[in-house]
């Protein structure tokens, strides 16, 4: 009991719901991201990609500015995919591993949060931080578009493509979080995720298509070109052959399904791994 005359403490207030806690954790984690060097790095990469795109278009023009759909199909579709990969590496690569290495996880684990709530809060923060880069890139492309096409610069496919890009971002971050949950050292986690997304998926796709000669429906990199392909009219054929090589293109429903399945499976697996992690 408390010493005489001293009221015994009672924890202040009631505990918020899991969703509220995840949202509040996300808010502060996002604030940390937005003040970090990695955010500056991501902004610098976004501006660099946008600058290259702007210069290329200004210099070559030609087919790139033949129509708004061709413009966005090439420049948005090509650029945002790369940008999302970088965002995944930068924000997701060590999102979980860093909690062990930097010992910030030991701080969070002392709080009355379910482990899953920590995972959700961090995922949402990484997602929103990545979205800032996507939005910045889109804004620069829109300014370019307005310059070349005036107010006709907004084909309907752009909204659909943006949604697909956001879905791809979710799937990619889900995968990076899964790999991040496997490591307790930031450098390993970032390295593995970077190699996987910059080279691994592409090499696997080439091998599967050209050597095994099957449709690589199980690779996330197979789904991502839909972000640019959606601007094509007609949409590229699912299977095309030429010079003895068969090329596969994911249909829109197929690409959406691949991304959703990747998001769901990797998020569940990462979540399950994190809830079993021990802070030894």
């Amino acid at each position: 009991m408390a010493a005489p005359g001293v009221p015994a403490p009672t924890a202040l207030g009631g505990l918020p719901s899991d969703e509220h806690q995840a949202f509040r954790l996300m808010r502060f984690q996002l604030r940390d991201y937005l003040r970090s060097r990695r955010f500056l790095l991501m902004i610098a990469l976004t501006l660099a990609i946008a600058a290259i795109v702007t210069l290329v278009v200004a210099h070559f023009r030609g087919g790139l500015v033949s129509s708004p759909a061709a413009f966005y199909g090439s420049l948005w579709g090509g650029g945002v995919g790369v940008l999302i990969v970088f965002a995944g590496i930068i924000y997701g690569g060590d999102a979980i591993a860093g909690e062990f290495q930097n010992k910030t996880g030991y701080f969070l684990m002392g709080l009355p949060l379910k482990r899953g709530t920590i995972y959700q809060g961090k995922f949402l923060a990484a997602y929103l931080a990545s979205v800032t880069a996507v939005v910045l890139y889109l804004a620069i492309l829109l300014l370019n578009g307005i310059y070349y096409f005036g107010m006709n610069a907004f084909p309907w496919q752009l909204a659909a493509s943006l949604l697909l890009a956001l879905l791809y971002l979710g799937a990619l971050l889900g995968t990076t979080f899964l790999f991040s949950s496997l490591f307790k050292t930031s450098a390993y986690a970032i390295l593995v995720v970077a190699v996987l997304f910059l080279f691994g998926f592409s090499i696997a796709q080439v091998l599967v298509e050209d050597l095994v000669k099957i449709e690589p429906w199980f690779l996330l990199s197979y789904a991502s070109p839909v972000i640019g392909n959606i601007f094509s009219n007609p949409y590229p054929s699912h299977i095309s052959s030429g010079f003895g090589v068969t090329t596969y293109t994911a249909t829109i429903p197929e690409a959406i399904l691949i991304m959703i399945v990747y998001f769901a499976l990797t998020t569940l697996a990462g979540y399950a791994l994190f809830t079993r992690e021990q802070f030894t």
Partner: protein, 315 residues
């Protein structure tokens, strides 16, 4: 209102074939400070981590205020402030922001937060740095912010893992003063340490663990009495040097004094009965001698003797 409590039932943890903690049955209850002592590798931090659900028990269960930590970590930890393994706060946040995050997650009402945050920052003497980035702080400053974070919701239970380890002497003294202050707020403080003087200085009770096994849990006075000659030991410090004749002739014959040893010209160690009443009588008698008594407190040396004796028994 609950009486704050920490309970472990058959708590055990193995890492492969290495048994870190075995069959720990412990019930710590009420507003007090309990020192959790043991040599390096004894299982102290492992035990505290199981109480905070940072690692999972291989056997048994840990409870905070009767709530199983493993089954309901969210509600169990809502009663506790935890500081284990010198954790880090997101470096770009200021102490105020970090404490806001903790307060929001813990559900401290919005209107209450500024007052509460200011109060705990004041308590750990970090008000002047309330808006600086935590990433620029020294280890001692970070430790104080972590203690503030553990206190921001006015918890009933405080779990502290060697809170002063790694700090300079001033930092150690400041952290001890903060912990000592917490005893006045009616909290149950469970603090691991391998610094015996710290435990003697701050704690009311002591639990000793070695090689994963609990060797004893009792009040400091009972522990020293039980494992020594049946007497508790207190160190008395005087403002003036004592004449050795005063020590052997006068002090040694005071009622209740069972043994006396001159440690240095101004300091004696007394063997006294373990009861508080008897010790109060000895204190009054010493004061009455007008020798310039300035301090009378439980001897670190006594606990050290018990500690060494118990640890050596296990070797």
């Amino acid at each position: 209102m609950n009486t704050p409590s920490l309970t472990s039932v058959g708590l055990g943890k193995s890492f492969g074939s290495f048994v870190a903690v075995q069959g720990l049955d412990l019930k710590v209850e009420g507003a007090k400070c309990v020192g959790f002592l043991g040599p390096n590798g004894a299982g102290k931090t492992t035990t505290l981590k199981m109480f905070a659900d940072m690692i999972f028990p291989s056997r048994g269960e840990a409870f905070i205020n009767g709530i199983s930590v493993r089954k309901d970590r969210k509600h169990a930890l809502s009663h506790a402030g935890v500081l284990i393994e010198s954790p880090e706060i997101y470096p770009s946040l200021s102490p105020t922001e970090a404490l806001e995050m903790v307060a929001e997650i813990r559900g401290v009402p919005r209107g209450e937060q500024p007052r509460r945050i200011r109060s705990v920052l004041d308590e750990v003497k970090m008000l002047d740095w309330a808006h600086q980035k935590v990433g620029r702080f020294s280890k001692g400053m970070k430790q104080r912010i972590q203690i503030a974070a553990a206190l921001v919701h006015d918890p009933e239970v405080l779990i502290l893992d060697e809170p002063s380890t790694g700090l300079d002497p001033r930092g150690m003294a400041e952290v001890r003063a903060i912990v000592r202050e917490q005893r006045k707020h009616g909290r149950l403080i469970f603090m691991s340490s391998h610094i015996l003087s710290e435990v003697t200085d701050v704690c009311d009770e002591v639990a000793l663990i070695d090689r994963g096994k609990l060797l004893f849990y009792d009040t400091l006075a009972n522990v020293t009495a039980r494992f020594s000659t049946g007497n508790a030991q207190v160190d008395a410090v005087f403002v003036r040097p004592l004449d050795p004749a005063q020590v052997t002739g006068t002090i040694a014959h005071l009622p209740g004094v069972k043994a006396v040893e001159l440690l240095d010209p101004k300091r004696v160690r007394l063997g006294v009965p373990p009861g508080a009443l008897e010790q109060a009588q000895v204190l009054e008698a010493l004061v009455a001698l007008r020798l310039g008594l300035v301090s009378f407190k439980e001897s670190t040396g006594a606990l050290e003797d018990v500690y060494m004796q118990q640890i050596a028994r296990g070797d």
